[in-house]
Amino acid sequence: MNECREYTQMIVRFFSKDLTGEEEKILNEHLEICEKCKKEFILQEQMEFILQKRPLSEAPVAVIEKVLSIIPERKEVYARPYFNWRVAVSIAYGIAAWVIAALSFHLAHQPGGIGAFIERMSTTMTHFSLTLESPSFIIGTVIYSLVVSLSTLFIFWRSQLRQVSAV
């Protein structure tokens, strides 16, 4: 009887993953010959199953709303400048755009340069009777430059913005 009491305790510890390999072996050997302890094992197994499947309580909507309303808003402020992938992208984007614009402008005004070639070959330009000197083309170039500049500035501004202080 006392011996079985020891095995019952081992069964509890088995389900708490608190038995050594040697103890597990001893318990297994005993369970093969003792019907009473085998029943205890099944009982414990059932209890473990019930306890494991106990569901979590659902936090009511009122609590969720309360917590989210309590958490103070934090204002966005400029932190010290720092370098990250957004900064790298904005700088690379800005440089590349301006290099391309400058190159296009330079080449366009070279006699027989790539600009004249583009002008001759471009069906769109031919279709709208555009030349490199026409106002529409110049306005388009200005708009392109403005868009590039502003988007570069925007990416850079976002990269420097961090939430650092609570109101």
Partner: protein, 209 residues
């Protein structure tokens, strides 16, 4: 490489990947950094993932159900305000459970000394020394689970919470020890005694023959 990929995905998509990391309890350092920098959206993600867990801890620890909502809100505000103190030596979840556990303990202590607080332990409702639960009724209703859960809820706080933490998500002994501020050996002892108590009670009540 893995760290790089994780960082990249977090920066790119923010939402879903961060959620997965939290669910796996593998909190990325970047996520903690975001929390520490006061990123409200990161905190909202954290709250969404842990609200039920924290609510359950409070619900199972505190008997005054009218106070549960307030306590849960207080705990999340505490987490938000004290996130800088999280030293990242333990898991974020473990740290949060510890904040919740200690906050509930404080409340229970205060409630015990304050006659205006309606602190009513279940122990007074369930006289465990006698068979006050009607086994026949409950057996007939097939409510073995409910009786077992009621027995768990009526146990003294430390035994009850060791048992609850152990079954929540199979939190390790080490984590339970950290959450409750007791040695690991004591955690094992409480768990063993709690399980033995439950088995004996269930047998006495006639659920297992």
């Amino acid at each position: 490489m893995l760290t790089f990929v994780k960082k990249f995905v977090i920066l790119e998509t923010k939402g879903e990947f961060v959620r997965l990391i939290i669910m796996n309890k593998d909190i990325d350092k970047d996520f903690v950094t975001r929390l520490k920098s006061g990123d409200k959206r990161a905190f909202e993600k954290l709250f969404t993932e842990y609200k039920n867990m924290i609510y359950t801890i409070v619900n199972r620890m505190v008997y005054n159900k009218n106070k549960v909502d307030d306590l849960v809100a207080d705990i999340f505000v505490k987490v938000y305000q004290n996130i800088q103190r999280f030293d990242e030596r333990s898991k974020l979840s473990t740290w949060m459970y510890r904040v919740a556990y200690n906050h509930c303990l404080d409340y229970i202590r205060k409630a015990k000394s304050d006659p205006l607080e309606s602190y009513e332990p279940l122990d007074s409702k369930f006289d465990l020394s006698s068979n006050s639960l009607d086994p026949e009724k409950t057996v007939l209703k097939g409510e073995r689970e409910q009786v077992l859960y009621a027995l768990v809820d009526s146990m003294p706080e430390r035994y009850r919470m060791v048992l609850n933490f152990y079954y929540f998500e199979e939190i390790s002994y080490n984590d339970i020890s950290e959450i409750m501020g007791i040695p690991m050996g004591t955690v094992k002892t409480y768990l063993f005694r709690a399980k033995e108590y439950l088995r004996e009670k269930m047998k006495k009540l006639g659920f297992y023959e």
